[in-house]
Symmetry: C2
Subunit: 219 residues, 2 copies
DNA sequence: AATAATATTTAGGCATACCTAAAAATATTT
DNA sequence: AAATATTTTTAGGTATGCCTAAATATTATT
């Protein structure tokens, strides 16, 4: 079985929105995520439903079927493996790889994916700290944690943000924090949860509002 | 400027059929190569002509414009670089890579192509011995020669066939000649142009009909 | 040069994947 | 519970890229 690029993108979007398949995903939520119109989503949902990739009841939203989930996981596997390739082998910055991986994830060849996996030495996580499903579709938990949860003494590196407003990004930039930046958590202040951190050349204090908006991976 | 996958495939097909832009390419020739119908070709040709990628006169065939040629060469560059990647880095057989490269060649990212080129150490030829255009679109001549033209004493390896009939392929297989196989030309017989060649474990005599149908690269 | 054969184009359709606008269902207010 | 607002679906339309069948142009044959 093989699917169109569009079908794959919808399955992936639904997978991400469904968050462990618990709640039903609304038409509007899909439309927003895919930057398309609700009516287009309804069209596609019907097609996916006919192909038994989603369970759909009019006006009640959708959920992926087992098969739909498998397809989605395969695409995510490909996406994340290609991201590792781009960062590790081609020296891309972590923030440059998403759009390219978005294209590469649709290349069809099971052999290619498995060979790539092997070539990259079976990475368990992508450059954003998100887990990479193995050939069987199993994945380890995410390694990403919020900086505010990191214990003093730990060394970690920055892999993403929650609030991606340009205000926040500018703040980070000004303070020499980029994605990939190594940080050492020096101490935490109980009173206001502010945190003293050390980067390569700098030691600084950041508020909880900051530390709670930064994703890191602890080494 | 960016083009659809289909447009890119047509440009590539026309490029290959035009053979140095000399002769005009017929609608039927394109249709055959692309396994589609002449009427579909006419449709697309009109679109390409509107975009100034081909020069087209009704019933008179097409030729690529400068721009069309540049686009085609970029796709060929991508195709061949990915083929090198698949063979050199992911250990694919030379004969397995075409379909995958056919997909990868449409990935859009100039930076990706250039990084890949660098990663592969700027290869000048792909696994079939065909030249890889550089960033400027220039390419070296092909390294591929017909086995019958190789001088005695030379060592070469097999990179392709002219006649790809299953009869011929089965003959090669039976005699332990695969793509990638190393050959040493021991001697040539003037009379019937037959050739004595040496493979890893074997020495054999092959007729001109065979040697003239095998592409090799001389080491 | 006229006729036959072949190549190419036109005309009209189909599926995909979008869209807008209107209708219908569901959710929220009052 | 009725009115209003929001969400979702339906209906009908568009562009792409393909198709078949028919018409037309070109090329080959006699």
């Amino acid at each position: 079985m093989s699917f169109t690029r569009s079908e794959e993108n919808y399955l992936k979007a639904i997978y991400h929105l469904a968050d462990h398949g618990v709640s039903k995903v609304s038409t509007n939520a899909i439309a927003t995520r895919m930057r398309t119109k609700a009516s287009s989503v309804t069209d596609m949902i019907k097609k996916l439903s006919d192909k038994n990739l989603v369970i759909y009841q009019k006006y009640q939203g959708v959920n992926l079927t087992e098969v739909g989930q498998e397809v989605a996981v395969k695409i995510i596997r490909k996406h994340r493996l290609w991201e590792v390739f781009l960062v590790e082998k081609l020296n891309f910055g972590w923030d440059e790889v998403h759009d390219i991986a978005e294209q590469l994830e649709h290349i069809e060849s099971e052999k290619l994916v498995d060979r790539l996996d092997e070539f990259l030495e079976f990475p368990s996580h992508d450059p954003h700290g998100d887990p990479i499903p193995d050939k069987q579709g199993e994945f380890k938990p995410s390694q990403k944690v919020v900086l505010s949860d990191v214990e003093p003494g730990s060394i970690c590196f920055c892999v993403g943000v929650i609030d991606s407003s340009s205000k926040f990004l500018r703040y980070l930039d000004k303070n020499g924090i980029n994605l990939g930046t190594q940080l050492k958590v020096v101490s935490k202040e109980d009173f206001d949860k502010s945190m003293k951190i050390k980067t390569k050349g700098n030691t600084m204090v950041i508020s909880y509002k900051i530390s709670n908006n930064l994703f890191v991976i602890v080494n």
